[in-house]
Every structure is written in structure tokens, then in C-alpha cells.
């Protein structure tokens, strides 16, 4: 059923004077674990990578650790996602840098310099969003299962 209509039907029937929006409880342990792993990855890769690659991987890790790790969900699932994201980032930048070295001094270098961050957006946001989608889906399934058991 369309989500809006679900809300329309449910909330109008259950009016209370006391209402408040849904909030989360941050998983600090997950954030700490994620921060350690993300930081270690960046330190390890620091010498080996070109600065643009490192910046884009750092942005992905920052987004993942600060906004996704505190949410409800299994730690291994989040770690797997972080690892996959870093691998995708490495592969993506490897392809772009190969193209760059292949066309040294050419127009490609200029284009890459100007639109680089927007190009990186093409892997960071989809991978980040995909992980978010999985996290939401797993959480929703878990909650459904709990509700079924309670009945």
C-alpha cells in the first residue's frame, strides 16, 4: 500500500494530545568501531593513493561512520558495507587515474580536475544509499518478525 495513504488512515484514527516524532538511540559502540576501522584504512592508504582518491574515500567513510553507524542494525553488516564502499572507491579511482595517465597532458586531465568531485559523487552517493537501503530493509524485517512473535 502506498505509504502516504497508510499514514493517512492510521494517524487520523489515533489522535492523541501527546504526540512526538520518532527518534533513534545512537549506537556509540558501533560509531567507535567504525571510526577506528575507517581511520586505519585512511592511514594505511595515505602513502599509496593519489590525493583525490584519498579525499573521496575519506568523505565516504565520514558519511558512513557519522550517519549510518549510529543507527540501529548489525555491526558486521555496517562493517561489510564500509569495506565494500572503500573497495568500490578504490576501483573507481583506479579506473579514472588509469584514464588520466593514459591521456597525460590532454584535455581529460583538465576535465577531471574540474568535475572530479561531481564524478566521485557518482560512486559515493549510490554506494552510501545502497547500504542505507539494506540497513532499513533489515531493520524493517527484524521488526516485523518481532511483531509476529509477539502476536
Amino acid at each position: 500500500m502506498y505509504f502516504g495513504c497508510y499514514l493517512l488512515a492510521s494517524s487520523s484514527a489515533r489522535y492523541r494530545q501527546n504526540f512526538g516524532p520518532r527518534r533513534e538511540r545512537p549506537q556509540y559502540l558501533h560509531v567507535a568501531a567504525g571510526a577506528v576501522v575507517a581511520f586505519s584504512v585512511c592511514i594505511l592508504l595515505q602513502g599509496a593513493l593519489e590525493v583525490s582518491t584519498l579525499v573521496s574515500i575519506m568523505i565516504f567513510n565520514l558519511l558512513a561512520v557519522l550517519l549510518a553507524f549510529p543507527l540501529r542494525g548489525r555491526l558486521w553488516c555496517k562493517m561489510l558495507w564500509l569495506g565494500l564502499g572503500n573497495l568500490v572507491g578504490l576501483a573507481w579511482n583506479l579506473v579514472w587515474l588509469s584514464l588520466l595517465s593514459f591521456t597525460v597532458g590532454g584535455i581529460f586531465r583538465i576535465v577531471y580536475a574540474v568535475i572530479g568531485p561531481a564524478v566521485d559523487f557518482m560512486w559515493i552517493v549510490p554506494v552510501w544509499s545502497l547500504g542505507f537501503s539494506v540497513l532499513s530493509y533489515v531493520e524493517r524485517r527484524k521488526r516485523r518478525g518481532e511483531r509476529r512473535e509477539a502476536r
Binding site: Y2, F3, G4, C5, L7, L8, A9, S11, S12, Y15, Q17, N18, F19, G20, P21, R22, R23, E24, R25, P26, V51, S52, V55, S56, I59, L63, L66, L67, P70, L71, I110, A113, V114, G116, P117, A118, D120, F121, M122, V125, P126, W128, S129, L130, F132, S133, L135, S136, Y137, R140
Partner: protein, 428 residues
């Protein structure tokens, strides 16, 4: 040398402004997710407050949707003896008036007032002022004709007026026709980020939640004191928000008071609607910037948030400028600029992508709404932002032209509603 220094200085300034917006959005996201000690989100001591209410529905050629909202107003749970519905037929040339009159004949609390074709159709603020003259309620509600409110929306929003400092209350706007087109899906994401995260966080932090053009309630005495809506401003909602704050009152946002809108379905309609919003918002920025800074009725944090809010439609233009300037500087002084250029461009992209709410704010809003299948649309928000960059630049240009060539008056571009939202209603 001097030119290079000046350009570097401007570029750094632009990056700092963009960074300020990024930090603001990040704080809002965390607040919407975790903050539990915000403003009270209920009527104090469980008191039930039921003042008289007038609902204004301005309608200009809305035959496809006017019946739907009027039918819905008959289903509202608010006591009918304390409620009046005022339809302002704003010079319609279609069947709007006929449909409204027909429903009004069956329900005593619905009244229809007409403006003829010559005086009407000049924009929403003028229609609202006309409706206000006929309204008798203590609290004035505004609904656009294409909206579909929850049955108990009036109770939820009216409750906040028990606080005498509250001048206006904003409800949440959700897209009704979300599955219709890719555009409606993207607008829905924008709404999620804007309301579920942005507005809620601003309310929690006691900053400046903004009144939208619909699902809005204002105190009648206050709006009369302010002299009604300004017909010369294209964003009468932003204008009234700041006038309320400058008068020493505040605005509350109620996330649970939901109202469903028919979102624009194609790029052309989106351009027209957002262009009006951008021009109106920029008008408000020019109008209220200095009074906001000078005002003694606002605290420092309200002033800072108000300042950022007023200038939000300039951000896409600033990002574009920073990009062009950064690229130019990169090629003038490549070695030392490499890292800084990369980092600042990244900041621009991540604060900008997703229109006025960055993609992470939208994603968190969707997560809090327990949405699952919307995340695949996130990358498209970048295209949406680029489109808004054009809209805002054109709007600024139009505004400047209208200032220089005084003869050119900004006109109200009406958004067309086709009534396809009916398909998504439970009764349809």
C-alpha cells in the same frame, strides 16, 4: 598579483559560506535523529484548546481539485460549530465556483466568496487578504486547493496556540501523487528532507521554522496587526514568517499534522513553481535582512538561522560561482591549489547535492519515515540541484532586471493541478 589575491579571498569566502550550510544541515540531521529534549510536543498539562477557526482556501481555476478538499473539510473532526471554511474563488474562469457553491449549499460551515476576473487572479496574497476580511475565527488556517489534510489536523495544530508567544504553526507537507512520475518522486524526497529533518530540527532547537504556503495556521489578531499578506511579495509564506518573528512572536512546526499535496509532475511546471519561490525568497532576503540583524525580538541563534534561511536560494548560485572561480584559480596556481581545490569542490558538491537539503539529510528523513525503496533515487538529486542552479540564477537575474527596469512587474505564476492525486486516496 592583487587580482589573484582578491579572487583567492572571494573563493575562500564562498567555500566558508557553503561549509556553514553543510554544518547546519549536518546538525539538523543529528537533531532530527537523536535529540529528545526539544520543545514540548504536546499541549501543556493535557489541556484541550478549541478556539474558533477559519480555514481559507484560495482557488483560481482549480476545478480538478476543489471538490476533493471541500469534501475533506466536511470530514474534519474539529467541532463544526467552531469551524468555518472560506473558499475564495479568485476570478476563476472554469467550474471552480460552481463546484464550490454546490458543496457549500449542503454544508452550512462552508462559505464561498467570489472575486471577479478583473480584480481576481492577481496572486495568492491578494486572495488571502480578501478572505481574511470575511473570516471570523480566532485562528486562521490556510490550505491550497490541491491539498488533502488529515482529519484531525486542526486539533493538532491549534493546540500550540495555547502558548501566547506562538504566532504561527506549520504542519508537515507530504506528496500525495508520489508514484506518478520521476519528478514527483524527487519532489517527495525533497519534502522529506525539508520537513521531517530540517523543519523538525529547527523547531527542536527553537530556531526559525518556516511557514509554508499551506497547512499553515496563524493567529488572526497577529495577522491583522501585521496588515495581512504582502501582495507584492511572491513568497508570502516566507515574508509572513519573518514578519511574525520580527513582531516578537514565534512559529512552531508540528511533524504529526500531515497534509498531502499534489506535487508538480514535469520539469516545466517545476521550473515555474520554483522560479516563483526563488524570486519570492530573494525578495524576502532583500526586504528582511537588515531588520532581522537589527531586531531586538530575536535571539542570536534565531538571527543566524534566519539569515541562513533567508539566503538559501542564493546557495546554488554561490556553489556555481565557487566552482567556476576555483577552476580558474586551479589553472592559474596549480601546485599549491591542488588539495584545497579538491577539498573545497567536494564540500560544494556534498552540501549542494539534493537541492536545499543535502542527500544525507534526505536519506535520514526517509529512514525516520521507515521508507525502504527510495534510496535508489539519491544520485539523481545532483541533477536536480544543477537544475535548481539554473532556476535560481534566472530568478536572480529577473529580480535584478525588475529592479533596474521598474516597469517590469513580477507576476504570480500559478501552478496547474490536474487532480491525479485523487488516485492515491483511500476512497478513490
Amino acid at each position: 598579483m592583487i587580482l589573484s589575491f582578491v579572487l583567492t579571498f572571494i573563493f575562500t569566502l564562498l567555500v566558508l559560506v557553503i561549509l556553514a550550510y553543510l554544518v547546519r544541515h549536518y546538525i539538523f540531521t543529528l537533531i532530527a535523529l537523536y535529540y529528545r529534549r526539544g520543545q514540548p510536543y504536546y499541549t501543556p498539562h493535557g489541556l484541550v484548546y478549541r478556539p474558533t477557526v477559519s480555514v481559507l482556501i484560495p482557488a483560481h481555476n482549480e476545478e480538478k481539485v476543489i471538490g476533493r478538499i471541500l469534501q475533506r473539510t466536511t470530514e474534519l473532526t474539529y467541532p463544526k460549530e467552531k469551524l468555518e471554511i472560506i473558499v475564495i474563488d479568485d476570478g476563476s474562469t472554469d467550474r471552480t465556483s460552481e463546484i464550490a457553491e454546490e458543496i457549500a449549499r449542503q454544508h452550512a460551515h462552508i462559505k464561498v466568496f467570489h472575486r471577479d476576473v478583473e480584480t481576481g487572479g492577481k496572486g495568492k496574497p491578494a486572495a488571502l487578504n480578501y478572505g481574511l476580511k470575511h473570516a471570523t475565527g480566532e485562528i486562521i488556517f490556510l490550505f491550497d486547493a490541491d491539498y488533502y489534510p488529515q482529519r484531525d489536523i486542526l486539533e493538532k495544530m491549534v493546540a500550540f496556540f495555547i502558548d501566547p508567544e506562538v504566532g504561527g504553526v506549520q504542519g508537515r507537507v507530504t506528496v500525495l501523487n508520489e508514484p506518478e512520475t520521476l519528478m514527483t518522486r524527487l519532489v517527495a524526497l525533497e519534502r522529506i528532507g525539508g520537513y521531517r529533518v530540517d523543519q523538525l530540527a529547527r523547531d527542536d532547537l527553537q530556531l526559525v521554522p518556516q511557514l509554508g504556503g499551506t497547512a499553515v495556521a496563524v493567529r488572526r489578531s497577529l495577522i491583522e496587526f501585521l496588515g495581512g499578506w504582502d501582495p507584492n511579495v511572491l513568497a508570502e509564506d516566507t515574508d509572513i514568517t519573518f514578519r511574525i518573528y520580527l513582531a516578537g512572536y514565534k512559529v512552531r512546526y508540528v511533524n504529526e499534522a500531515e497534509c498531502y499535496e499534489e506535487a508538480v509532475e514535469d520539469l516545466r511546471s517545476y521550473w515555474r513553481q520554483r522560479s516563483r519561490w526563488a524570486k519570492g525568497h530573494m525578495q524576502c532576503a532583500f526586504k528582511h535582512l537588515w531588520p532581522l540583524i537589527k531586531s531586538r525580538n530575536l535571539r542570536l541563534r534565531e538571527k543566524i538561522d534566519g539569515l541562513l534561511l533567508l539566503n538559501i536560494y542564493f546557495v546554488p548560485i554561490l556553489v556555481g560561482l565557487a566552482w567556476i572561480l576555483g577552476a580558474a584559480l586551479y589553472f592559474v596556481q596549480p601546485p599549491q591549489w591542488t588539495t584545497f581545490f579538491w577539498a573545497s569542490l567536494a564540500i560544494s558538491v556534498y552540501s549542494a547535492a539534493g537541492n536545499f537539503a543535502p542527500f544525507f539529510e534526505v536519506a535520514i528523513g526517509a529512514y525516520l519515515d521507515r521508507r525502504v525503496r527510495v534510496y535508489w533515487l539519491m544520485p539523481l538529486l545532483l541533477l536536480f540541484f544543477l537544475y535548481n542552479m539554473l532556476i535560481c540564477s534566472k530568478a536572480l537575474l529577473d529580480l535584478c532586471v525588475s529592479k533596474v527596469v521598474r516597469s517590469k512587474r513580477l507576476t504570480w505564476e500559478k501552478t496547474f493541478h490536474n487532480g491525479r492525486g485523487n488516485l492515491y486516496l483511500p476512497t478513490a
